[in-house]
């Protein structure tokens, strides 16, 4: 079959299997390949964790927005234009000095797409799904996070269509920063609860 040593035409099994299904569905007129492209483009380039970071930055900067998030996160997030699939029913949970929040979906891969984009592979894999509920502090240690002694932890298992966004603590030394600059400190993992916001760059450090 493969006469050429350069293997140019060889496909791995999954690529071949997926291509076969798409070929069939497109031939049948059941799937528009341009629609598939548009869906991919949406989550590769338009909808991702920058949206959630802007929500967090605004919550840090505007106490009234933080309050709106507590009362009705779906509406507050929608007011920033972040809506849609897998974000229909949002809840924002705020980390405090006393309690850390962590989000998981033990049964599948539920995740707040409009604010975080697509879930990372580890979020959907058995190690995280099995252990986040049982031993969250050990899981956090695998992300390099060690909670202070005595801090409680609350794990939110997304078993319905409610989706959770963690609002991490605002780092020290960020007074007066613009919301755009604050958002640069907000990592995806910090909004799942598997990380913390970055400290600001020390003043005087040149790029």
């Amino acid at each position: 079959m493969h006469d050429h040593p350069d293997h140019d035409n060889e496909m791995d099994d999954m690529t071949a299997r997926v291509r076969a299904l798409e070929t069939i569905l497109v031939e049948k007129g059941l799937v528009d390949p341009a629609a598939v492209d548009a869906i991919i483009d949406t989550y590769e380039h338009k909808v991702g964790p920058r949206n959630g970071a802007m929500v967090v930055a605004r919550a840090w900067a505007e106490p009234e927005f933080a309050q709106a998030l507590r009362e009705d996160a779906t509406a507050a997030i929608e007011s920033m234009g972040f809506v849609g699939r897998q974000g229909e029913h949002m809840v924002a949970v705020f980390n405090t000095a006393e309690e850390h929040n962590l989000v998981v979906c033990t049964l599948c891969s539920c995740y707040p797409w409009p604010v975080l984009g697509l879930p990372p592979a580890w979020y959907k894999a058995p190690a995280y799904r099995s252990r986040a509920v049982r031993e969250p502090r050990v899981v956090l240690s695998e992300f390099g996070i060690s909670l202070p002694q005595g801090m409680s932890i609350r794990v939110w298992d997304s078993t319905a269509e409610v989706r959770y966004l963690v609002i991490p603590d605002r780092p020290a030394g960020t007074d007066g920063m613009s919301q755009n600059d604050l958002a640069d400190l907000v990592t995806r993992d910090s909004m799942i609860g598997c990380g913390v916001a970055r400290p600001p760059a020390t003043s005087g450090t040149a790029a």
Partner: protein
């Protein structure tokens, strides 16, 4: 169902492998599976609960050995076969052998932004809730052979209601196409020791969302 998907609290899966947030896919075929899965949903044969159930019904060894996009692909193939849009012999031939059925429902590229923005809200008018915030409840020993969203680690456990979400589509009914049967939805918070035993951390709580049929007063 007591399927391979019900992973909460299980042992033996090893360490989490964090990744840089720029990594969204591990192969190009995963992108096509994402797009095809969402696009095929527009054909209207199944709902989100039925599609989750199709993933749960994969053989356990297959489910646990597959990446999540492979789980999506296998479930999509099975759903399309179930509803007669694709046949096994077509997958073997890697070609169309019979015409498509619901071609009029094909999701066009220009409709993608509005469909993704609309999403699929699950809240519905429904019965008034029996429980209030602060009420103590016990989850039922609920283990149907079909789809359910009560994780096994939280069966038969005492917890407290911490939020009410109104009535939502009841997945146990919806996945079987027996109607949306909206039921009051609650957030139930558990002490980890009540879920995982006395060795668990006393400063650790876990919450789930639970529909009223999963709950008894406690």
């Amino acid at each position: 169902m007591n399927g391979p998907h019900d992973l909460g609290g299980r042992h033996g899966f090893g360490a989490v492998i964090p990744e840089d947030e720029s990594i969204l896919f591990h192969a190009d075929w995963e992108k096509r599976v994402l797009g095809m899965t969402l696009a095929a949903g527009a054909l209207g044969y199944w709902n989100i609960d039925a599609s989750r159930h199709a993933r749960e019904c994969l053989p356990p060894a297959t489910y646990l050995g597959a990446s999540y996009y492979e789980i999506w692909l296998r479930a999509l193939e099975n759903l399309l076969i179930t509803y007669g849009e694709v046949r096994d012999d077509e997958l073997d031939a890697q070609a169309m052998l019979q015409p498509g059925l619901r071609v009029e429902r094909r999701l066009d590229a220009k409709a993608v932004p509005s469909v993704l923005a609309a999403g699929g809200p699950a809240d519905r008018p429904g019965p008034a809730p029996k429980f209030a915030i602060g009420d103590h409840v016990r989850t039922r020993n609920h283990q149907p052979s079909g789809h359910t969203r009560l994780p096994s680690y939280a069966r038969g456990c005492r917890g407290v209601v911490t939020a009410l979400h109104g009535a939502h589509v009841y997945p146990d009914s919806n996945a079987r196409f027996e109607g949306e049967n909206p039921q009051p939805l609650y957030t139930i918070c558990f002490d980890a020791r009540d879920l995982f035993g006395s060795d668990a951390d006393p400063a650790h709580k876990v919450s789930i969302e639970a529909w009223e049929p999963y709950l008894d007063p406690a």
